[in-house]
């Protein structure tokens, strides 16, 4: 063991909350290396990162930093050792300026008064060094786009001594230009000998930046590979423990008549002249980078945000449906299952029963007003059983269910409403892998029953597995559509980046 050449070495690390999250994890990092940590949600990536950064303590195991025992008791202790973490969730205070955010905790002062000139100069110098000079140091952070806020946060992390940098899903909120900027940064840091732990579930990114990839699954290290040479499929199999082929849709499935047509839909900068159609029995995927306009397109179709222009036509006719609110959309048989289930989909403290019956409550009510409790219970129990929702009873609050089961509850609501067109926005976000496969099967099932399904996802492999066709959005435009068999990861990614090159300069709104 050449402990001297490792920047960080982790042995036998274990951690349990209610259930074990990490078991006997070993991991190492060289100076000047980018080591990617990948795995499904709940695989333990973030927990491992938090332990290294001192935010959480392990139950068992040792860590060595530069060959010496390392057991940080808190974030401050870790930072004294030069270990810094930039987390997924933003940690900024919106009303502070960029410069203040970067130097918070050690703002240059003179007898208690802020030395604005020095603060500004220091910030400017740092931003220039990081090639972030597009961001003015005096702007309040809240006026920046999310992506730029993330860059500011990274800059704040780099403004102090840093030997080991941990980035937890840094690109989740970034546009293509910003991602490029970040990667250039990482290369420069790497050359100066900083070791970087890079957490992501976007495999396509890893090849571009990482030297090695370690795969975690269910809290265990499955293996470590060289990023350049390992086939992507191997990594996926390591991540999910089985082949995606299980749920793969057969090519050339026959679909029914057109169920929904979207023509020239536009809304602000995020949805520009989007046209497509989806047929009964078809699963149509929407791929694209963060901020490409996928979610906004779904919301505009559903009337959740009023579009500026364009028409939505239900069926294969020519008459546009008048959709001015979600209520209108639902009446036309369109349902939207939002990306953010907890905030926009579920009524967390209310029972499963109420969550399922809500969209079609009047059908359960005598004279359209008087709810018949027995019928409501029977109907909702039947639906919960049909979708294999795991709950103690339909009276259990949905807040107590797991992510996958919560998603099934939302699906049950729309099945009961008898919607023909189901728009799924990131249906498997935050759901563990077993439940993901359940959801994939459910989507295939729904399509087989003649529903028209539109799915957006950041996970290309997911779309490749379940879709009949994939539309790619970039910079608000629908730039390409691929049929099953026509698509490759390269083609889709090229299309996804096409609208950003030269165009979107990453300037915040």
């Amino acid at each position: 063991m050449s402990a001297t050449q490792d920047l960080l070495r982790v042995n036998g690390l274990s951690k349990s909350y209610a259930a074990p999250v990490l078991c006997d994890v070993g991991f190492d990092l060289h100076p000047g290396e980018i080591h990617a940590l990948v795995g499904e949600n709940g695989a333990g990536k973030t927990t491992l990162a938090r332990i290294i950064a001192g935010l959480t303590q392990a139950d068992a195991g040792q860590m060595h930093l530069n060959g010496r025992p390392y057991a940080p008791t808190g974030r401050a202790a870790a930072e004294q050792h030069g270990v810094r973490i930039v987390m997924q969730e933003l940690n900024l205070i919106g009303t502070l300026t960029v410069a203040e955010s970067i130097f918070i905790g050690r703002i240059p002062s003179w007898f208690g008064f802020v030395d604005r000139r020095r603060l500004h100069a220091d910030a400017q110098e740092l931003m220039a060094r990081l090639r972030l000079d597009g961001i003015e140091p005096d702007r309040p952070v809240e006026t920046l786009g999310v992506g730029q806020q993330q860059l500011v946060e990274i800059a704040a992390g780099l403004s102090r001594r840093c030997d080991l940098l941990i980035l937890d899903e840094p690109t989740a909120a970034l546009t293509a230009t910003e991602v490029q900027l970040l990667f250039t940064q990482l290369e420069a840091l790497k050359d100066s000998g900083v070791g970087i732990i890079y957490i992501s579930h976007r495999l396509e990114e890893l090849r571009r930046v990482a030297d090695r990839v370690t795969v975690l699954r269910d809290g265990k290290v499955i293996g470590t590979r060289q990023a350049e040479t390992a086939p992507l499929n191997d990594i996926i199999r390591m991540m999910i423990g089985r082949d995606l082929n299980e749920v793969q849709r057969p090519a050339g499935r026959a679909c029914g008549p057109v169920a929904l047509q979207v023509r020239g839909l536009s809304r602000g900068q995020s949805v520009r002249d989007v046209s497509f159609e989806v047929r009964e029995g078809e699963i149509l995927g929407f791929a694209g980078l963060m901020g490409s306009g996928r979610t906004e397109t779904m919301r505009a179709i559903f009337g959740a945000d009023r579009p500026d222009a364009g028409a939505v036509i239900v069926g294969d006719g020519d008459t546009p449906a008048r959709i001015r609110s979600p209520r209108d959309a639902v009446r036309h048989g369109i349902a939207l299952l939002t990306e953010d289930r907890k905030e926009q989909g579920l009524f967390l403290p209310l029972p499963v029963r109420v969550n399922i019956s809500l969209a079609r409550l009047r059908a359960l009510a005598a004279f359209g007003h008087w709810i018949r409790p027995r019928e409501e219970s029977a109907v909702t129990r039947r639906l919960a059983d049909a979708l294999a929702v795991r709950c103690s009873s339909t009276e259990q609050p949905v807040a107590e269910l797991s992510g996958g089961n919560q998603q099934k509850v939302v699906i049950a609501r729309w099945l009961y409403r008898d919607c023909h067109v189901l728009l799924f926005d990131e249906p498997t976000r935050g759901i563990d892998i077993g439940a993901k496969l359940d959801i994939y099967r459910l989507l295939a099932d729904l399509a087989d029953r003649g529903k028209a399904i539109v799915v957006t996802s950041s996970d290309l492999l997911e779309l490749f597995a379940i879709c009949d066709r994939i539309c790619v959005m970039s910079g608000g435009h629908l730039v390409a559509t691929f049929k099953r068999g026509e698509w490759t990861e390269g083609k889709v990614m090229d299309a996804a980046f096409s609208g950003h090159i030269g165009g979107h300069a990453g300037k915040g709104a």
Binding site: G42, E343, P349, V354, D432
Partner: protein, 318 residues
């Protein structure tokens, strides 16, 4: 039913404590008197419960009550209109105030706190203008109403109980009631489920205004007059009662029956303290403590259920 056990227990203990400590407390007359004093607060509590459930608040109920009662008085006294017309005008005034509250809240997405705070001022001002700052005496004109009673319980009390029962049934058994709870729990999710929250909220605020007018009628029947300063501070008394009943100011949670218990608890407390010879300041001090205690108890009652799982733990259920 189990959710009311606690409230019944509190009421029973209060009665027990005052019966043991205050002379002449445990008498039919005490309860009759207390009951006949609270109909307007019960009626207002029904409306307020609804408003709080949809995550709003209505600070204007006291002023709207005064305005409705002023309209009743002026119609009867100054214009000598027949009683049914005067009642209709009074109800109309309350309904209109509620509709304005609802429309402003919904149309401009203003916080209902601000809108109803403005209404609190405006309706009070209007009351003074309408009455010319004069108390309107109309006891002779409503004599037939004041004389109705069952077992010594006045007509207003019986109506208030009926409204509370109806309010509870609407809340827990109708589509409208379910929509209110859904909107109060998560308005955006309700909207995306195809419910129009604006329509429901408009109805709720309008209803609250209408119920303030009904409360005004109840109070006028009892007092036989309309004072421009009637109902001052009622909004806080009503909100206190509803909160003691366990309704959440954050919306989505509450029942009418529990709010009525809240009203009863405050009323018995007040009556008992009077009979003990406590002065008003002492009464206020104790009522304040009860409100805080009720909210703390409620907090614990609910925190047992929702212990959120740590987000990073892989879900054990799949």
């Amino acid at each position: 039913m189990t959710e009311y056990v606690g409230m019944v227990f509190v009421v029973a203990s209060l009665i027990a404590i005052f019966s043991l400590t205050a002379p002449n407390f445990f008498q039919v007359e005490t309860f009759r008197m207390t009951a006949n004093q609270i109909p307007e607060v019960i009626i207002l509590a029904v409306g307020m419960t609804y408003v709080l459930i949809v995550a709003g608040i209505d600070l204007s109920v006291g002023s709207v009550l005064a305005l409705s009662s002023a309209v009743l008085g002026v119609c009867l006294v100054r214009y000598q209109l027949p009683l049914p017309v005067a009642v209709a005008a009074s109800l109309g005034a309350g309904l209109a105030c509620g509709a304005v509250n609802g429309s402003l809240t919904v149309a401009w997405r203003l916080p209902s706190f601000i809108v109803t705070l403005a209404m609190l001022q405006a309706a009070r001002g209007l009351t003074h203008i309408v009455t010319g700052q004069q108390t309107q005496y109309f006891r002779p004109m409503i004599r037939e109403l004041t004389s109705i009673s069952v077992l010594g319980l006045s007509l207003p009390f019986l109506i208030a109980v009926a409204i509370a029962v109806l309010g509870q049934i609407v809340l827990c058994r109708t589509v409208f009631g379910r929509y209110m709870v859904a909107i109060g729990t998560n308005e955006e999710a309700a909207r995306l489920s195809g419910i129009d929250p604006r329509r429901i909220k408009l109805v709720v605020f309008t209803l609250c205004g209408l119920l303030a007018a009904v409360a005004a009628l109840a109070q006028s029947t009892r007092l036989g007059s309309a004072t421009p300063t009637a109902g001052t501070g009622f909004e806080l008394e009503v909100i206190a009662a509803v909160v003691i009943g366990g309704t959440s100011l954050m919306g989505g949670r509450g029942t009418v029956i529990r709010s009525v218990f809240g009203v009863i608890i405050i009323a018995i407390l007040g009556r008992g303290l009077i009979q003990l010879g406590a002065a008003d300041p002492t009464k206020q001090l104790i009522t304040g403590c009860v409100i805080v205690a009720a909210v703390i108890v409620d907090h614990y009652r609910h925190s047992f259920r929702k212990a959120p799982l740590p987000t990073e733990t892989p879900s054990p259920s799949l």
